[in-house]
């Protein structure tokens, strides 16, 4: 029997994100696979070189539209660590609130698209409707519907007023009401269970071996959450549960994310209740001659890591390791021995965010890019 090597993507109806997956097949079973990235390149790490620190914050904010709270939050954490600056309590609380709002909108968006991959279009429409509530809150707070740019060095973009707090509470209550209804659907629907139970199974020991982070590791029972392990912002002052499931399959990953939405709502309520009085300072120019620092935050998809080196007041080197890049190494391993039809479900259950991952490629004009489809036609057709 022949082995067939087929490219899936970069443009493919079952993939929302551009990547090329090359799978070798024996009949319908995958025997080997490899990933190619670089189709959503922006050259962020190179762009950051030689920029001032404030300019860097603006670029970092534009890495990704979905995680656009996590990246500035991490960048600001690293810079404040180098400066040895501790922000006022009110600033910490405001940042925590926006971080959690960002997590909720990301998780709702992902759950909708996961169900869309299974052919459950109605649920996608419902989830997008509920995400709108969160986006309205974020728009009111930050002025933007994506690329929020709320975190600033030593401060935040703007303060919240009493009327804002009422508005936020009314909107998150709307979402809070809906989540148990969806949970019931997910827990009872037989199609969802048939497509997701035991698919993309990662045992706990593998999860630890592959250094997995975020909801994927937590769905395998690993106790890992940067908000608990290495608290930042005001996470050491709020009480929340580290959500874990034990099955390690695509279904468990979905349950973890759904339950985390409720936990995030719980955090926002505590933050709004206990927010200390105070002023939001205005941003002032930053003088930082030299320094190097590392830092991490819990992005919606897991640990987000930044390393920044500053030399002569400019960024000399920035290294950004978003969570998606961390779990791509297990994706190819997960596919081995599986059927072609499971590829979209496994990929979607990992919640990849390629915009975050592909930060570094620079392709100059006039350079020809070799498409794997052509490659395929020449070699195998």
């Amino acid at each position: 029997m022949h082995d067939y090597r087929i490219p899936i993507g970069p443009q493919h109806p079952s993939g929302d994100e551009p990547s090329c997956l090359r799978v070798s097949l024996d009949g319908d079973t995958i025997i080997d696979s490899d990933l190619r990235f670089g189709y959503a390149h922006k050259g962020i790490e190179k762009l950051l070189e030689g920029k001032r620190i404030e300019q860097g914050l603006h670029i970092v904010d534009h890495i990704c539209g979905i995680c656009s709270v996590a990246h500035p939050s991490c960048y600001v954490r690293v810079i404040e660590k180098i400066l040895r600056y501790e922000p006022p309590e009110r600033i910490k609380y405001l940042r925590t609130m926006v971080s959690e709002l960002g997590r909720i909108q990301s998780h709702i968006f992902w759950t909708g698209f996961m169900l869309h991959e299974l052919g459950f279009e109605t649920m996608l429409a419902y989830f997008l409707r509920d995400r709108e509530h969160i986006l309205e809150v974020l728009e009111k707070l930050t002025g933007n519907r994506s690329h929020f740019a709320y975190h600033k060095i030593r401060t935040v973009k703007n303060d919240v007023s009493e009327s804002d707090i009422k508005f936020i509470l009314s909107k998150i209550r709307e979402v809070e009401k809906k989540i148990p209804v969806y949970m019931k659907t997910i827990r009872t629907d037989s199609v969802i269970k048939a497509r997701m139970k035991d698919v993309g199974f990662i045992p706990r020991i593998e999860s630890e071996k592959y250094s997995l982070v975020g909801p994927i590791a937590r769905a395998s029972g690993v106790k890992i959450d940067i908000r608990k392990d290495d608290p930042y912002e005001a996470y050491d002052q709020v009480d929340f549960e580290l959500v874990r499931e034990w099955d390690g399959d695509a279904y468990a990953r979905m349950l973890v994310r759904m339950r985390e939405i409720l936990e995030s709502i719980n955090i926002i309520k505590q933050v709004l209740k206990n927010m200390p009085e105070g002023k939001v300072p205005l941003p002032v120019p930053l003088i930082l001659e030299e320094g190097m620092g590392v830092g991490r935050v819990e992005a919606p998809r897991g640990e987000n890591f930044h390393m920044i080196k500053i030399k002569r007041r400019k960024i000399d080197r920035a290294r950004i390791r978003p969570p998606t890049f961390n779990f791509m190494s297990i994706f190819t391993k997960l596919l081995e021995g599986k059927k072609v039809g499971d590829i979209p479900v496994i990929l979607a259950s990992l919640d990849p965010c390629y915009a975050c991952m592909e930060r570094v490629v620079v392709i100059k004009d006039g350079k020809r890019e070799v498409l794997t489809e052509d490659d395929f036609r020449h070699k195998y057709a």
Binding site: R36, G38, K209, V294, R296, F305, M307, F325, E358
Partner: protein
């Protein structure tokens, strides 16, 4: 930033000792005359181990047998810095750069 310098010849031995801890990522830096490779681990906070590699012969042993998640980090660094990781089987298959990429690796500094 907590940083510990490792010698190139003791590198594998130290990595064996760290087996079981979580590798966060590997970062590479282009400095004058050498490359810095920073291995960030999660050991009660972020602990960094620094290895210096000479620019003329940038070769280091791969650690994917100890930390399988290092595979893509090493391939990324190979794409952008042209550092050779001995023992990584898919190192030369380009991951981010186009297959017909010519010219110097994009993240190297302009040295004049």
């Amino acid at each position: 930033m907590e940083e510990k310098r490792l010698k190139l010849k003791d590198f594998r031995q130290k990595m064996e000792k760290l087996r079981g801890h979580r590798l966060i990522t590997i970062s590479a830096l282009d400095s004058s005359g050498c490359y810095h490779l920073l291995y960030h681990f999660d050991i009660n906070g972020i602990k960094t181990f620094k290895v210096l590699i000479p620019e003329k012969k940038p070769v280091i042993q791969s650690i994917i047998d100890i930390f399988p998640s290092a595979e893509f980090y090493e391939r990324e660094i190979h794409d952008f810095f042209d550092i050779e990781f001995k023992g990584n089987p898919r190192l030369h298959e380009k991951m981010f750069l186009p297959d017909d990429w010519e010219g110097k690796p994009p993240l190297l500094k302009d040295k004049k």
